[in-house]
């Protein structure tokens, strides 16, 4: 290659060119948002959700229908990884005032999201204008939507830990009633007997469950005994005997091989699908996955409430809800379209219940005859009365820190690496450590 000496640079012209280009680039960037807005002539509503599971597909379908019926609104929905990844983004976006216009959360997380600085309160008038009525929601869920007397959430559903059973296997094990529903059991021993019968048929496990999400089982069985976990400034009240009684069945099931010692979310569902277990204790949202499996290769299953260990069938659960993240400034049109979107989704939440297995919070839907006769939803409709929300403290709630910490300890119980007594001591130690942290939402 020859080195051609370049002509002396035309200094001025190049500089002008550069600064001109920079300016143009800058103008292009800053103009981006408003440009697309004005070009399409639509009101843009940005939605963030955490429905990374099978129910997310149901929401996407509903969004398509919403878009078809609302040509003037451009809905941009983004799904983030369930749990901490979602909440981290929500908090960071809201603290900068640039989060989405509307987001889904778990009602139990409301307090932990520092509503007074990170969320935008909702006026009752606004939702009434969009055609909703406070009377349209179950009172106990509705009450949880308030923080310091201001409404922050619009509840979408109630969801809970439920029990699925494989009818083919359970029939062989002789644990089905004549109407082909699972036999009702009372007390731990009866249920373990049922699992033993199922284990004899599968040759592997009785029930499958997520050994990494032990908080759900713990809270369900602790609450079945009326156990309370009340947090004070620097101490808490936890009933040791009841807590132990909630943990012991986990150890016993794992020790006897009635449930797996290690099983994550995917494996838990797979164990049920491939017949390694005749039952599975997971959330109602997994119904989407099991239905798809049924369509693919035939799978005779149904679902019911979780077993009565201590005199009732209380279960751990939560509610999905819409919140409006804090905005530096609200465009009134966007705000109106946002509320309209939420109201539309609630009015159409029959699909959410039928498709995603959740029980819609919007009473006109759940009280409709169409919904009442929906199977298998009718079989576990009792969860709405039996659902137990997580304790009230800033580090509690779905995927919050106590959920993670207790789950990590109970995973060791399922793995038989820790006795229930050791686990309880560690849970209490970890809870104290959390309590010692400065409360960020105080």
């Amino acid at each position: 290659m020859t080195n051609n000496p370049s002509p002396p640079p035309g200094l001025l012209s190049r500089r002008t060119l550069l600064s001109g280009a920079t300016l143009a680039a800058g103008a292009g960037l800053s103009g981006c948002g408003s440009l697309t807005d004005s070009l399409s002539g639509k009101t843009q509503v940005r939605q963030w959700n955490l429905l990374a599971g099978a129910d997310g597909a149901v929401m996407t379908q509903m969004h398509d229908q919403f878009a078809a019926e609302h040509p003037d609104i451009e809905l941009q929905a983004t799904t983030f990884g369930w749990g901490t990844p979602f909440y981290t983004r929500l908090v960071m976006g809201a603290s900068g005032g640039n989060a989405a216009d509307i987001a889904t959360i778990h009602v139990s997380r409301l307090q932990s999201l520092s509503p007074d600085t990170l969320l935008s309160p909702i006026e009752i008038d606004e939702i009434v204008e969009a055609g909703l009525d406070p009377e349209d929601f179950p009172a106990d869920v509705w009450d949880k939507c308030f923080y310091e007397d201001k409404l922050y959430c619009i509840p979408i559903d109630t969801h809970a830990l439920v029990n699925y059973y494989n009818r083919t296997i359970c029939e062989q094990a002789g644990v089905l009633a004549p109407d082909r529903t699972l036999l009702e059991t009372h007390g731990v021993e009866e249920y373990l007997d049922l699992l033993r019968a199922v284990k004899d048929v599968t040759g592997e496990y009785g029930t499958s469950l997520d050994t990494f999400a032990g908080w759900r089982q713990f809270w369900a069985w602790y609450r079945q005994q009326d156990g309370e976990w009340i947090f004070h400034e620097d101490d808490f009240e936890l009933d040791d005997d009841k807590a132990l009684a909630a943990i012991e069945p986990m150890y016993r099931m794992a020790e006897e091989g009635l449930c797996p010692t290690i099983s994550d979310g995917g494996q838990t569902a797979a164990n049920f699908e491939n017949g390694a277990a005749g039952l599975v204790q997971v959330g109602n949202w997994e119904i989407v996955r099991f239905r798809a499996f049924n369509e693919a290769q035939g799978f005779d299953f149904s679902m019911t409430e979780i077993p009565d260990f201590y005199g009732n069938r209380r279960t751990q659960g939560d509610s999905h809800a819409y919140v409006l993240p804090y905005h530096n400034s609200w465009n009134p049109d966007v705000r109106k379209a946002t509320i309209e979107y939420a109201a539309w989704m609630l009015r159409h939440s029959f699909d959410w219940g039928a498709g995603g297995g959740h029980t819609p919070a919007y009473l006109p839907v759940t009280e409709s005859e169409e919904y009442q006769s929906l199977e298998p939803n009718a079989e576990y409709s009792g969860v709405v009365e039996n659902v137990q929300f997580d304790p009230e403290v800033w580090f509690a709630g779905s995927a919050a820190r106590i959920y993670d910490e207790v789950g990590a300890v109970l995973q060791q119980v399922y793995a038989l690496a820790m006795t229930p007594e050791e686990a309880l001591a560690l849970i209490k130690e970890r809870a104290h450590a959390l309590l010692a942290l400065p409360n960020p939402v105080d």
Partner: protein, 316 residues
Amino acid sequence: MTTDTKTPEGAPPEGAPPRMSAPPSQKRRSWTGLWFVLPFTAVYALFLVWPTLLGLYYSFTDKSLTGRPVEWIGLDNWAETLGDERAWDALWNTAVFTLYSTPPLVILAIVLALLVNRARRMGWFLRMAFFAPFVIPVSVVTMIWIWMYQPDGGLINHYLQMLGFQSAETPTLWLQDEGRAMWSVVVTTVWWTIGFNFLLFLAALQTIPKDVYEASSIDGAGSWRQLRHITLPLLKRTTALVIVLQLIASLRIFDQMYLMTAGGPNRATEVAIHYIYIAGFEGYRIGYASALSYVLFVLILIVSIVQFRLFSRKED
């Protein structure tokens, strides 16, 4: 790498006269050059220098993600760091990971580079095979390995059972066992990142002149002696570089742990950056997380300086 451009002998010194008159215009031209570094400098200042300084400031405050008013709290965060057992456990886990992962990532990389350097026909294939994992994103790598490590039906246990090393009744727990989780992540990391070190070594090997080996073999040196007394000493500078880069990379471990074990089981693999993440993003305590970050930063700085000293002394 440097490139030498030589003016062919006998070429007329045409370049000389313009050079004489060049200096004034060159001086002006150097200002033009600034425009070219400006985009990088601006991004660097905005996204690295400024947050670094801001982090230092935050470490003296109770800055929270919730946007509550910020208060100056002096050295409170720093004092808390020193007494925070979980933070020290996390730092210890980081150190353990570094100790486990650095030696194989350096030694194996040399071995692979030597192998490829000798290989004639299969050279291109081995080069690609060893480097290929490095270009896969971490989420994909960890997903593949999580499947391989599954106790029930995972690839590794499947073959161990087929070969009779393990009974199906008691499958080995890889990521879920306190003693094995760290090693399992180390193995994944070695597989994933060794390609980079390997490439550095291979490049260095190819710069060693052939005549050195020829001369030594005439003097009767076997291949083992050549390796010990020629190859390895000539690779010393590269080895020093690789070790520094590797130590820094290992001390910054987060992704694989977060995705594969989430710090478990029972916090056995909770590393420093994971704890910083928990403190900052789950606990909303940006101030405290900043202080923790600075502690890690200072530790990495010390390790790097000590290491540089060690090697530069040897070279003298």
